[in-house]
């Protein structure tokens, strides 16, 4: 049913929480291996859309296929295993250090643990490897989240406002990283208020309003 070149295929997707439609009928097709930016005013439904794509909320009506998983009939947990998620909240154990968090992830994924030092260095946390995650600054937490994703290398990246709390150098690093990820064939869907900084990326931009797609341009 789903064409192999599409990572996201939504048709009239509605997401309800407490009877309120977070998404009010989104129809959208995103191609595998591309960079897509979701923008829109506060409360437009960006986070909700990403959560739907990550299998974190259920589809209430309409239909959708993400990464080959049907959102209505498929196993949402299966979907979650294919996507990488970076949200506002920290996504690690607060009491474990940066390194211990990554070691846990690496072991769970069956990856060699000697990648960890490299990854921590890449996100600029090599001076904070033994700091408990809860003591890290807001931007450092975001970086640790990125490190976790780097270790996982998911096929679909869902990033909710990654720029927020990152400093200048962090944003540049982030743009480079996304370039790499796209080149390696993975798909990236980012929500953002600012336009991306690097022109080399030429993303497709989808604008939401009132839980609907109101504009879509490449």
């Amino acid at each position: 049913m789903s064409s192999p070149t599409l990572v996201v295929e939504l048709s009239d997707a509605v997401v309800l929480v407490d009877g309120f439609p977070l998404l009010s009928g989104v129809t959208l097709e995103l191609e595998t291996g591309t960079l897509n930016v979701v923008t829109g005013a506060n409360g437009a439904g960006k986070t909700s859309l990403l959560r739907l794509l990550g299998g974190l909320v259920a589809l209430s009506s309409g239909s959708g296929v993400v990464s080959g998983v049907d959102l209505r009939t498929g196993d949402r947990r299966d979907l979650r295993r294919r996507v990488g998620w970076l949200g506002h909240e920290g996504s690690f154990y607060d009491d474990l250090s940066a390194k211990e968090n990554l070691t846990f992830a690496a072991k769970a994924l069956g990856r060699p643990t000697d990648e960890i030092a490299r990854v921590l260095d890449r996100v600029g946390l090599s001076s904070r490897t033994d700091t408990p995650a809860k003591r890290l600054s807001a931007g450092q937490r975001r970086r640790l989240g990125l490190a976790w994703l780097l270790l996982r290398r998911p096929e679909t990246w869902l990033l909710d406002e990654p720029y927020a709390t990152l400093d200048d150098e962090g944003r540049t690093f982030f743009d480079e990283l996304i370039g790499d990820v796209i080149r390696s064939g993975a798909s990236v869907i980012v929500s953002a208020h600012d336009p991306l900084r690097s022109n080399a990326l030429s993303p497709r931009t989808i604008t939401l309003a009132g839980g609907l797609v109101v504009s879509d341009r490449s």
């Binding site: 929480v17 309120f20 009010s24 409360g43 437009a44 259920a58 309003a209 009132g210």
Partner: protein, 240 residues
Amino acid sequence: MIKQLSQRLLGPVTLALLALTFWLGLWVTPPDRIQGNLVRLLYIHPAIAWVGLYVSFGTSVIASCLYLWKRTRSTIMDRVAYCAMEVSAIFITLTLITGSIWGRPTWGVWWAWDARLTSTAILLVFALGYLALRRANDDPELRARRSAVFAIIAAINVPIDHFSVDWWHTLHQGATVFTQNGNFLVHGSMLWTLFLSLFAFTLLFFWLLRARYRLEVLRDQRYAASLDEALAQRRREGVH
């Protein structure tokens, strides 16, 4: 056709059979040698317990299993499980109440730490816990899964309740009607009235379940209607 007719007749037939049971139980059958007129609770208490423990709790557990099994997963099963558990909670409560009323003159106390009484009370808490668990979760799918698992865990308590009288020989009446070797310990009109009461209360359960299920469907429909309104409003937020 037949289905429709039987649905239409369910209510009246249930009422008629219940009326018959009460008439037989209160006026036709004789008082007991030892218990006197108290024995008339025999036509209410066991039947209510039967419905509360086996018919409705059982329905709920079976529906929960069917929900968890992928091939039969549907909102229908979830709804049935929920409605049946609600009926079960009511009937278990009634079991406790009728039992206490019976216990006061026979044992001299309203409550005792008897194995069956305790396990029945625990079963009630399971049923209430089930209802509380449903209230605490908003996400329909999550709610359905969790409550299904909970119902299955709770089911372990039903056989314990049933066999408790044999395992822990205590105050409560042992198996009187359905003894292990198939001998009935009560006789004649009493026996038939007892069977009738079981049947009538079982029908009552199905009647209640159907009414409750329809209410749930109606609620869902009303919800769907209010949803269209909400959707339109949410979409309007987009246009300035």
